[in-house]
């Protein structure tokens, strides 16, 4: 902005505040209600009011009595392993599509990228039947296949772009020095794609941390639930104890929000990976 017109500034701020309320109010409601007592909501006080007697009791109960940490651990395990495999397999495929000439290159690439538009629900029934058949039903690891497969297309798409940028000369020099295609991949192509790998690590982690449908269909036992499925089940468990549910929601949202506040630019870049290319 070249010159600061105070009137304009004030109106911009006013509009900004309006959306701040729209975007922020649900979070305020969620976090604040978590500090309320179970029966405070029934007492007829305004729902916007600050807690009468704020206490950490709900948060404490969720963290200590239930299996909250089991769910967090499940989520961390399945998301961690999935993301590592997505990045490994994705970068391997991207390397081939970016650096090798063969007739099936383009058709295979298009086939994989077409996976971007396929709704997961189309595959739900066969994946469920298949998972039962191979005896993985109701295991955390039943999620691994679908999680990796459905997130490969975008990862390959983005990483192929990165690998195309590696100058030919570097590859030729490496080949002359006697390194073959596989060694070149691990020694040069992979390290040179670090920014792309980081972006896709963020993107896939956020998506999978929040994934629900496959977990919903493939897992039943409480011990094997990842966090989003567990939140859904908490709802039944606490039925009318709204403050307790709100504290669960707050605790489940907190990790990503904290990571985002610390590394905002990286997270934003990662989340936009699909759109910005």
């Amino acid at each position: 902005m070249s010159k600061r017109d105070p009137l304009k500034m004030v109106s911009l701020l006013a509009i900004g505040m309006v959306w701040l309320v729209i975007a922020g109010m649900p979070f305020y409601f969620m976090a604040m209600t978590g500090f309320k007592g179970q029966f405070e909501l029934f007492s007829g006080r305004s729902v916007f009011a600050f807690p009468e007697d704020p206490s950490f009791q709900n948060y404490e109960e969720v963290l200590t009595s239930g299996s909250f940490f089991t769910y967090v651990r499940n989520s961390l395990a399945i998301v961690g392993v999935s993301v590592v495999l997505i990045l490994l397999f994705g970068s391997m495929a991207a390397y081939i599509f970016a650096r090798f000439r063969f007739r099936l290159n383009r058709p295979l690439f298009i086939l994989i990228i077409a996976g971007l538009v396929i709704p997961v629900h189309v595959t739900l029934i066969p994946v469920y039947l298949f998972t039962r058949e191979i005896g993985l039903y109701d295991s955390l690891w039943a999620l691994l296949g679908p999680y990796v497969a459905f997130n490969l297309p975008l990862t390959i798409f983005i990483l192929t772009d990165f690998m195309r940028l590696i100058p030919r000369e570097i590859q030729e020099a490496a080949y002359i020095d006697g390194s073959g295609p596989i060694r070149f991949f691990f020694r040069m192509a992979l390290p040179l794609s670090t920014p792309g790998l980081a972006t896709m690590a963020v993107y896939n982690s956020v998506i999978l941390w929040n994934e629900f449908v496959f977990a919903f269909v493939l897992i039943t036992s409480p011990d094997n639930r990842p966090l989003p499925l567990a939140i859904w089940e908490y709802q039944g468990q606490y039925a009318m104890n709204i403050p307790a549910i709100m504290s669960v929601l707050t605790l489940s949202a907190l990790p990503l929000i904290l990571i985002y506040i610390v590394g905002q630019e990286r997270v934003l870049k990662g989340m936009m990976a699909g759109a910005l290319k």
């Binding site: 911009l12 495929a93 081939i96 189309v122 066969p126 910005l276």
Partner: protein
Amino acid sequence: MNSMASVRETGQVGRWRLLPRLNADTLTIFLFLLPTLVLIGIFVIWPIVNSFQLSFYKWNGIAPTREFIEFDNWSRLLRDDIFVKAFRNNLVVVSLSIAIQMPIGMGLAVLLDQGGRFFLFRLFKTIYFFPMLMSSVAIGILFKYIYDPSFGLINPALEAVGLDSWTRAWLGNTDTSLYAVIAVICWQYTPFYMVLFLAALTSVPEELRDASLIDGAGEGRYYWHIALPLVSGTVRTAIILSLIGSLKYFDLIWVMTEGGPSNSSELMATYMYKKAFPSFEVGYGSTVASALFIIVMGLAVFMLLFTRRFETEV
């Protein structure tokens, strides 16, 4: 390496090859693509084919035998009022998503672009993006309570501004449930388009803005006549993303209404789930899934052709 070298020398002289000659490169190609192709084959391609197969059977998913019923499921689908309603609801979600998220997203992007590096606006940007970080399940549960007629936020807020007559059970009413859900979808995804548009706006060269302002264009006309046409490619991308994404909604609707009351917020994905899982109609559920696939792919191909034509015209 020796054996490979000899293969290279002996055979493989055909002019037309599907793959390059068998050497270190071929092996690398094969090995490096194998995990991806196997996984996508098993979890994406085969399930789609299998869905179509299952759509010709009557089966509860458990019994050892299933009955081949030809096109019965498909003719049932076309006469199924609930499916037609779900399809129509999907169209409403798609069009309202685009009509609401794009303008608001662009408006907020312009706001933040104007605010520049002023710290309050950077704070705005940070908080505006929060909804994108929450899982749809958590958002669904949260808004279920926000809409709650006794303990929620919406009705007291309406009463506070004197709109008492507007208060209702938003999710429990067949007239409002779909729109109440769409409002939440917009709340969740608008920040995504905001950041996308903001990135595009900041990439417009500074000289263009300066030049237009010197020519007396004013900020408003700068955005409308200069910036907007320059970021039209991004807007198009955003519309395609929103279109494809809107057909995939499940989590949020499932958590908030399960498609109800009486199917008023039913979408194709929730209907498919209901048929296949709680009702054990695997054959019919697969038919709904296959129809969803045909619709999404049809739209995607249409958009691709349409935008390509658009590109050559411009």
